[in-house]
Symmetry: C2
Subunit: 449 residues, 2 copies
Amino acid sequence: MAGKREENKITIVGAGLAGALLAARLGQAGFEVDVYEARSDPRGKNHVAGKSINLAISTRGFHALGQVGLADDVMSIATPMRGRMMHSTAGQLQFQAYGVGKDDVIQSVSRSALNMMLIKKADATSNVRFHFSHKCVGADLENGGCEFVVEDKGETVHVEGGLTIGCDGAFSAVRRSMQRLNRFDFSQTYLKHGYKELCIPPAENGTHALEPNALHIWPRRSFMMIALPNEDGSFTCTLFLGFEDKQGPSFSSLTDAERVRAFFERQFPDAVPLMPTLIEDFFDNPTGSLVTVRSAPWYYEDKFALVGDACHAVVPFYGQGANAAFGDCAALGDLLTEDSNSDVGRLLEEYFDRRKIHIDTLADLAISNFVEMRDHTGSQLFLWKKRLERTLHRLFPKAFLPLYSMVTFSRTPYKEAVDRAARQWRFVRRFAQTVGVVVVILIALMLLK
Amino acid sequence: MAGKREENKITIVGAGLAGALLAARLGQAGFEVDVYEARSDPRGKNHVAGKSINLAISTRGFHALGQVGLADDVMSIATPMRGRMMHSTAGQLQFQAYGVGKDDVIQSVSRSALNMMLIKKADATSNVRFHFSHKCVGADLENGGCEFVVEDKGETVHVEGGLTIGCDGAFSAVRRSMQRLNRFDFSQTYLKHGYKELCIPPAENGTHALEPNALHIWPRRSFMMIALPNEDGSFTCTLFLGFEDKQGPSFSSLTDAERVRAFFERQFPDAVPLMPTLIEDFFDNPTGSLVTVRSAPWYYEDKFALVGDACHAVVPFYGQGANAAFGDCAALGDLLTEDSNSDVGRLLEEYFDRRKIHIDTLADLAISNFVEMRDHTGSQLFLWKKRLERTLHRLFPKAFLPLYSMVTFSRTPYKEAVDRAARQWRFVRRFAQTVGVVVVILIALMLLK
């Protein structure tokens, strides 16, 4: 595949969220798409699911889902979250809406259900073929294409490329090959916190045991627990806690059932009665780590492109990881389908140039939102700041939009959103200063009269 | 090799500067050391040398060389550089001493001669064995040891570890295996500039064609050329230039002999007559790239450690890359030899904790010194700042030491040097402010009299 896209052939590595969505998009546009996935067919019986934090899908994600005709289907399996519900150690609740408009809700969606829906949608297009149990072990940078080990058989097959798109996640084999290229920038950086998934099952009458239309947060400064509602009445809880911490609790100090129970009863007393399998879940479920991956460029010649976590894994605290990956699919899909006469290498460069700076901004936002969620959401100052944001937006609906709203409920590129938010606050500060000065002058004039 | 160091066995991957020095150090201390190197024996005939920028060895490097009894030998093949010699486009020269004392000189040393000397020194110890043409293809993290492909034979051998120390450079195979460990932080970041080595041969009478006891710099703001003296009367020149640059010259625009010649005659007119093989060198020699590598941690259990570029490649602009790698050898050697009863894993952690923060500081220093060398060294402000530093040091020899001196002519850990320099300048600024205020008050008092 040199220069012009004569062959119309696309190889996608990975049938996770990004790979399956991109397969659907490009398949619907008439490309011949082959998708290779390391795991077995999720539609089969012996399937083992991968990472399972449920997802928060918002405006950016729904835009890309809409492009393949799935927005309504996804909405039908989603649980809307209208805001944050903060739980204090004393069990007091405080609700705070996410958005400024009544339609500003985030949708909690099961990762596996969404993935299944995407695979079925892509597979419904006759020119998309899925090859499961094919584990990518490296890219052939010189000639294009990749090597795959076929599970069960143990044999290695070489798949000729066309354009190969790595959608194979934060530990991408395609990217690992690209890392050896001269002048390929790459970083993987882990947080000192890990995570553990736990469960709040449905209440006895089958309903949600907590307010269903909220993302629940137990902010405890150096750590936190969150819970997202599921369609079946359960909640998926995630405890974010330091791996090690000399001053406070950490995963390394929670070594037996007694300590885990004491920790939860002290920190999350209102949640414990709702978590009957707490101890089993805590010791059965793995402790996950949280990585930020950055890379550049996201393409190589006209042969390879990277999408989603494969080029830019972010930590989950802004609820934007999947939305950003879907945004990549939309951007790359738009370029490849709208301009079929262009040089593919040029289109890939354009895709990278459009996305890179914004995703770098998102990576920083996601890390800083961890501090906000676990520390600030519990403070009165934070609540007042949020109230001020809402008031300013009501007074100046066009001029003032909270950053969270721009990131979550618009498709404004991430960096533009951050820059605009900074400008807005600068204006507010200057305005307040001016008002202050005027008031002082007026008082002075009144006193002098 | 679990816990205590019962076996006394060390495997070193790489016989470059760090690997050979560490082999000598540990061999002299009685360890059984096996060194595996991908290239052929440099003492043989068909050896192909690797990267060849010559080195600037200073205080930190000589300390580690002294530990294996090589300081004097290295001094005997070195050419002292007393300062920077700046060349303007008009051919005007300006000299600036590096240090504040007369012994403050940097030694220009041939990388290959130094490497050879280190290998011979290590090999002189009966318990050090070199295995050349063994290319490491990965580390066995679970069991310890590494896989090597034996050149010529093409066979793969597995070497059992003992403690395995990766000294295999910026593209380390040992580190590449460690990168797959959970929570291993890693980054590789390239500068937008590349480099090209060129040559100024000895003058007709065999002497140096430029002042020999200086590092020559042709600072041209967005790019620069430097030249380091060699023992044989020649200079190794290095042109640092952007790979691409829309506003100015770049490697991508220097595509033919005519353009190269025109560029050099405009920018380095005094050097061109001294470079008879300029055009051949320019097109024969590769364009190198400049990478900063960071990683953490630099060890795994009690089985693996990383040293030098393998864990922290820095760009060459502070002349500290080899000195820092030698500093690692000194630190790790001190720990392993002084405390033979300790748990090896604990010693490796201690090695990492001692070095990491300082090398991170050096990486930043090296990048910012590139701007200083190519841009500021040509400015009057820079010369005045250097003069002020020297004056302050003469007035307060204990209290004020220029940063460059602390980095180059002391063994003060890098971050301590930077912190101290910041404190010094803060003090100078406050002092100047106080003097300013006092002067204003005095003038006011005089005027009021």
